[in-house]
């Protein structure tokens, strides 16, 4: 794996009222890595993604993408650079069929620029992307109205919306949660393929077993602070991590 640093977060902090949702978090991402972000509920994982992607303004700290300061950019400029995210609460464009949901990212300036105006028919491209991610074209799933799709497909639609942008970094906010075991089994190869394509992945996840199959590295958060960072096995042996998940031992 190349050691090229693609994203660097230094000292990111955000308070909501008196609560420090994210407190002085720093980490680096190498190109092509899959990094898991885990932690108990309310430990600031989603807020961290919101800070990096600009959806929430940082109180302090800086974010660098390929050594370029992107701290102050608005969300659409950050997405335009290739740092895209899924949303934990999926809200597809309900009134549109699944494949039309991808027209919006395919219409974006980033895709226009990267494809050099030679994208072709957007509808066809959209259906290709969906088929790749498991929407059975033969069963007309891509043509179904987004509001009628079951959860598993919606999660994948979120991911497809990111893929349509030809991103460099994808931040997946709990793409596995709520999925059945068989759905996850189909989703894992998709993630592995993305990594092989050179896409860097940050995965917020509660399903640790599945995450550890994928992740090269895990960052553990608790009460807004980063408490551990390393390969999955080592991290789970860490005392602080055990405490965060299981509570302090009473003697």
């Amino acid at each position: 794996m190349s050691e090229e640093i693609i994203l660097r977060v230094s000292g990111a902090s955000k308070s909501f009222g008196g609560i420090k949702a994210v407190n002085n978090v720093s980490f680096e991402l190498a190109k092509g890595e899959i990094v898991g972000v885990i932690g108990p509920n309310g430990s600031g994982k989603t807020t961290l993604v919101n800070l990096i992607t600009g959806f929430v303004k940082k109180d302090s700290g800086k974010v660098f993408f390929k050594n370029k300061d992107i701290t102050k950019l608005p969300p659409h400029k950050i997405a335009d650079l290739g740092i895209v995210r899924t949303f934990q609460v999926m809200r597809p464009y309900h009134s549109l069929p699944a494949y039309k949901n991808l027209i919006v990212p395919l219409y974006s300036p980033r895709v226009k620029r990267t494809s050099g105006g030679k994208l072709g028919d957007r509808n066809a491209v959209a259906i290709d992307i969906l088929e790749e991610i498991g929407f059975e074209r033969d069963a007309y799933v891509p043509y179904k109205l987004a509001s009628s799709l079951p959860l598993g497909y919606l999660k994948r639609l979120e991911l497809a919306r990111c893929l349509a942008l030809k991103p460099e970094i994808i931040m997946c906010d709990e793409v596995f949660s709520g999925l059945s075991m068989s759905e996850i089994v189909t989703a894992i190869p998709i993630m592995e393929r993305l990594q092989m394509d050179g896409i860097t992945l940050i995965m917020i996840e509660h399903r640790l077993r599945e995450l550890f199959r994928l992740a090269n590295r895990v960052i553990v958060m608790n009460f807004g602070e980063k408490i551990a960072d390393g390969i999955p096995k080592e991290v789970m042996e860490n005392k602080k991590v055990k405490e965060a998940y299981l509570g302090t031992e009473v003697i």
């Binding site: 959806f55 659409h76 997405a79 464009y93 549109l96 027209i103 300036p109 349509a164």
Partner: protein
């Protein structure tokens, strides 16, 4: 007595599935199925001026069409972009005053003042409303309602453009037929253009903003830019109504900023069926003549008017057009459960 639980089942007519889906339209019957509603609307609108009994009613047609344009703009913004805009009076006032002032001060002909009024007015209203675009829902509506009040007070206080008297004696259209057909054709063009637009990729982005603006931003698109473009399109439609009104009566005055132009289009949308684009036009075509006919009741006119509206909103909240469309495309039957 034994009562059985029943529910209504609705099924798409086979012909609808074929004409709308991925099948080719193969027969004349299916072609007719698609074209009939459109042709009825187009021909109906074109015939209306010919069958009307008097000059008075022909003028009512002109007003109907102005309200139809405003209702169309409201429906487009509310249902396809997610902006609730009560700026009807702003559009009419700006379009009207721009073309009126250009005509009286610089002597430009209506062939120039109407386009300038339309697009200049649209540009100004977009710029005025631009700072409020990031705020959502009812707050944007309030701001868009305030601007016409503000502008009319400025004109009144400073005595600009004839002050409270307005500007009279402007050139009118050559005859009553030009009056009617000009605006009818514009209504039809606006309707079909908007329908096309909402299914184009640009329109899909706008609908995406309505459904989930955060996801559109996460796709690397500047939503304020797209909202502003949509607002420009809608206000151009409204401003044309104002510029046309100026030359219809040869007069520009403060009543162009009247509240009617903001409120009646919403009523027309509620009556006609929001989100259908055709419905609001239908609504305007019902409400405007209705309001004229109720003049016989004198002061009670508004009471009857409101009762009819309330009745419709309570008993047919989906609106006429949604109801018609359902009847046309689906059949219903009762089944026991």
């Amino acid at each position: 007595m034994e009562s059985k639980a029943r529910r209504k089942e609705r099924l798409d007519r086979g012909i609808k599935v074929r004409t709308e889906g991925i099948y080719a339209i193969s027969s004349l019957r299916e072609l007719t199925y698609l074209l009939l509603p459109r042709l009825t609307l187009i021909l109906g609108l074109l015939i209306v001026p010919l069958v009307l009994p008097s000059m008075y009613w022909q003028r009512v047609v002109c007003m109907m069409c102005i309200f139809a344009l405003l209702a169309l703009a409201f429906d487009f913004l509310a249902h396809y972009v997610g902006i609730v805009c009560l700026g009807g009076a702003l559009f009419i006032g700006l379009g009207g005053y721009i073309s009126g002032v250009l005509h009286s001060s610089f002597g430009l002909s209506p062939a120039l003042t109407i386009p300038i009024g339309t697009f200049g007015g649209a540009l100004i209203s977009t710029l005025l409303l631009l700072p409020c675009l990031p705020i959502r829902g009812i707050y944007f509506a309030i701001v868009s309602l305030m601007y016409p009040l503000m502008l009319s007070r400025i004109i009144e206080a400073l005595g600009l453009f004839g002050g409270t008297d307005g500007l009279a004696g402007l050139t009118t259209f050559p005859n009553i037929w030009v009056d009617q057909y000009l605006i009818i054709v514009v209504v039809l063009i606006a309707l079909f253009a908007l329908r096309r637009l909402t299914n184009e990729d640009f329109g899909l982005v706008l609908r995406g903003i309505k459904d989930n603006d955060q996801a559109v931003r996460a796709s690397g698109m500047n939503i304020t830019l797209y909202k502003a473009q949509a607002l420009f399109i809608a206000s151009a439609i409204g401003c044309f109504g104002g510029a046309y009104l100026t030359h219809l009566y040869g007069w520009v005055g403060l009543s162009l900023f009247g509240l009617d132009f903001s409120i009646l289009p919403i009523a027309a949308c509620a009556l006609g069926g929001i989100g259908t684009l055709t419905g609001p036009i239908l609504g305007a075509f019902i409400l405007t003549p209705l309001s004229e006919m109720l003049r016989a009741f004198g002061p009670l006119r508004i009471v009857f008017y409101c009762l009819i509206l309330v009745g419709f909103i309570v008993f047919k909240p989906e609106g006429l057009m949604n109801y018609f469309q359902r009847k046309y495309h689906q059949f219903e039957r009762w089944i026991e459960v």
